[in-house]
């Protein structure tokens, strides 16, 4: 005769392992991205730290629940555009700053960030998104974008993160206003 309590415990264990494996599949996508970032010699240490943080956060959120899984997807989609753009710009040895031509890089980072933030707001608005979903999707997008922006300097990363936050907040307010 099967002990139902033991079955429940074993079932929960199998469930958690299954969820963790499903959540870890995101590594198949993130490893190549991190590898591209780590190929460059400049800022390799920071890049590795960001990659580990992004991977950890993505797996943890995807393991937690379905909402976390959707937030990670949204965040990665939104973060992929600034990530790719920053990787491309970094090829030309540009850096973001406050003076001269560097301001274009800073402004571009903010604008790309705002675009990503709006994308997050639009995607999250399809469901019954709450503050937690917005925040986690934005954090994932910021981490993903930072992987590319790390070579544009600290100001590049900061302006991108500020842009994402501004875009997400503006998008969320707009969506809320349109629903009322």
């Amino acid at each position: 005769m099967v002990d139902v309590e033991e079955l429940r415990v074993r079932g929960l264990r199998a469930y958690e392992v299954g969820r963790l494996l499903t959540a870890s599949r995101i590594a198949l996508l993130l490893f190549p991205v991190a590898a591209v970032c780590l190929i460059e010699s400049r800022g390799r240490g920071t890049c590795a730290c960001l990659a580990v943080a992004l991977l950890g956060a993505a797996i943890w959120l995807r393991w937690r629940d379905r909402r976390g899984m959707e937030s990670v997807t949204t965040g990665l989609i939104a973060g992929s555009v600034p990530l790719l753009a920053a990787l491309l710009v970094a090829r030309f040895d540009l850096r973001c700053g406050w003076a001269g031509a560097d301001t274009f890089c800073t402004a571009g980072s903010v604008l790309l960030g705002i675009g990503s933030g709006l994308l997050i707001a639009l995607r999250e608005a399809r469901g019954r998104a709450r503050f937690w979903s917005f925040a986690t999707a934005s954090a994932i997008a910021a981490l993903a974008a930072s992987l590319g922006c790390v070579r544009l300097g600290i100001l590049g990363v900061a302006s991108m993160v500020v842009g994402i936050a501004l875009g997400a907040i503006a998008g969320a307010v707009g969506v809320k206003a349109s629903r009322q």
Binding site: G11, A14, Y15, R19, D65
Partner: protein, 180 residues
């Protein structure tokens, strides 16, 4: 099964796949008996059925993160259960086939009394006689003559031919010794 109970099981599966761990309690109390009954119908032996049902339940738990909520939960569970029952049957058939003549001889031999040894001897002669009526090909397939065919024929082909040879041996045995 009542539609309301079926829906309650489906809803619990959706909740669990969404990350609500508390739904496990409900699934253990509601889904487990259904799976056990299914396994008992498919396997027939109570002990084996419990093992198969446990395997099915754990598999459902570990794969539930990938569960497509647009499908009926119970049908999905039965799909997994059918596969496990089929696997169990296949494994049992192979075990029976592997339990050949040599093992039977080994089991009877060690500390048999004089009377048992005589019976064994008589039985061995009877088997030899029955085998003698088989064609060379059948003896080859049963591994009683010539080189082993494991490496020559694909395992599925060999299994089928071995099964046919065994069927013919059974017919011969019945002709010679009746239903014994």
């Amino acid at each position: 099964m009542e539609p309301s109970r079926r829906k309650a099981i489906h809803d619990a599966m959706v909740r669990l796949s969404d990350g609500d761990r508390s739904a496990m309690e409900f699934l253990v109390s509601e889904l487990w008996p259904v799976i056990l009954a299914f396994a008992e119908r498919g396997v027939r032996q109570r002990e084996d059925a419990e093992d198969v049902a446990q395997e099915v339940f754990l598999r459902i738990c570990s794969n539930i993160s990938d569960f497509d909520r647009t499908r009926d939960g119970l049908s999905w569970a039965f799909g997994i259960a059918s596969y496990e029952v089929m696997t169990h049957r296949r494994r049992r058939t192979r075990r029976r086939e592997a339990l050949g003549d040599s093992e039977l001889r080994e089991r009877a031999a060690p500390d048999a009394s004089q009377e048992e040894a005589a019976i064994g001897q008589q039985l061995a002669e009877a088997i030899q006689q029955a085998i003698g009526t088989l064609s060379d090909e059948d003896r080859l397939h049963l591994g009683l003559a010539g080189m082993p065919l494991d490496r020559v024929l694909p395992s599925a082909t060999l299994r089928k031919r071995r099964q046919r040879a065994l069927d013919r041996l059974r017919i011969v045995w019945r002709k010679l010794y009746g239903g014994r």
